[in-house]
């Protein structure tokens, strides 16, 4: 670790952020084999050529091609793919700036704020989120939430029965656990509070000191429980772009690596 830290600190934002973004390109390629092949080809060609991946035209071209690809089925494209696409274009525009690190930071800060503001808005207006129904249903049926479901006292076999009921597309009653209402309520309100905190911290300049604590308060429990490498890695790449110090940038780069490694480990251990 002592040999890695100085290297990370030596990397300027103009080199480090595009390099992380190349990895985001791979991690958000999804399951479409053509998209994955295209992303892999771009990364293999670009990685040994810093002059290429630090050129604004490279990222504007990547972002433009991805946008053209995404627009065809925009209603079925995951939100982290949208965020990554915005970031490729924002990175390209930032590299055209007279002060690329400041432009990257401004774009990344606004994008994180916008993402979390809409995430909170959706949860507030949703008919099932504030009532706790969303987390209750999700804990009982979504295998990604098996850890909190077991904490709620739902037996492993009952979770499997619930998933079978859902897969059969028939009406029925889900099997619950003794602490389900409590765990659902805790997840509902902690999610609303932490995501709101991230949104205001990134959108209100006067609250900039709250940005990193809020983001860490969101990321640690979320990705420990539900490791979604695509969104998590994109979020940390953006956080690294917002970092004003080498230490913060190194911290978010380490967070990026931890999320990716944890996601791989999760898949290896639990499938």
């Amino acid at each position: 670790m002592t040999s890695i830290q100085p290297q990370l600190r030596d990397l300027t934002p103009e080199i480090l952020i595009p390099r992380l973004t190349l990895l985001v390109l791979l991690l958000t390629a999804g399951s479409d084999k053509w998209r994955m092949a295209a992303a892999l080809a771009v990364v293999i060609v670009a990685i040994p050529r810093p002059r290429l991946y630090t050129d604004a035209r490279f990222w504007l071209a990547v972002g433009g091609v991805m946008a053209a690809w995404n627009v065809l089925q925009w209603y079925a494209i995951d939100n982290h793919t949208f965020l990554a696409n915005y970031w490729y274009l924002a990175l390209g525009m930032s590299l055209l700036s007279r002060a690329p690190p400041a432009a990257m930071a401004a774009n990344a800060t606004a994008l994180v704020g916008v993402v979390f503001a809409f995430a909170v808005l959706w949860k507030v207006i949703s008919p099932d989120f504030p009532s706790g129904n969303f987390f209750e249903f999700t804990l009982l049926t979504d295998e990604r939430f098996e850890i909190p479901a077991r904490l709620a006292g739902v037996a492993e076999g009952d979770l499997a029965s619930n998933r079978s009921l859902l897969a059969a597309d028939v009406s029925g009653t889900l099997i619950s656990g003794p602490r389900l209402p409590l765990v659902s309520a805790v997840l509902t309100w902690s999610t609303l509070i932490v995501e709101s905190l991230v949104a205001v911290a990134f959108l209100v300049p006067a609250l900039h000191r709250l940005r990193y604590p809020a983001l860490i308060a969101f990321a640690v429990p979320t990705y420990a429980m539900v490791p979604v490498a695509g969104f998590g890695a994109t979020l940390f790449a953006l956080a690294a772009a917002t970092a004003g110090t080498d230490k913060a940038r190194a911290g978010f780069t380490a967070g990026f690596a931890i999320i990716v490694l944890w996601s791989l480990l999760w898949v290896a251990l639990w499938g």
Binding site: Y75, A76, D78, F82, A103, F118, S126, D128, N133
Partner: protein, 117 residues
């Protein structure tokens, strides 16, 4: 001015797209989880929790036209047309969403299309 444009254009685009997706979801029953509105993990109504029912019953693949119809009822017409042409008979296609409360799961039809070959 140029510096400002370079710093706010993409976040503004993100707001416009997210607002449009929000409108589509509220006014036209598009799923919240996808489409750039950042409504993931906010509602039970995900494409995976929607079901397409056809009468007469036909085996529905996981094709792009099925995915489109699950994500947005507007595309149910296209799917009905494809099914009717495939089976050479009139067909009724419905999109049903999960309704959940007090541990009970049931399905509610939210869109219905009739198509003749």
């Amino acid at each position: 001015m140029r510096e400002r444009i370079l710093r706010i254009t993409i976040p503004v685009v993100a707001v416009v797209v997210a607002s449009f997706q929000l409108y589509q979801a509220r006014a036209h029953d598009q799923v919240a989880w996808e489409g750039g509105g950042f409504g993931m993990f906010a509602t039970i109504d995900a494409a995976d929790n929607r079901v397409i029912i056809s009468s007469p019953p036909v085996r529905l693949s996981d094709s792009p036209s099925v995915q489109r119809a699950l994500a947005h009822p507007r595309y149910l017409d296209d799917l009905a047309r494809l099914i009717a042409a495939g089976i050479d008979r009139a067909v009724t296609v419905e999109l049903a969403e999960i309704v959940y409360g007090d541990l009970d799961v049931s399905y509610r039809v939210v869109a219905r299309v009739e198509e003749t070959p």
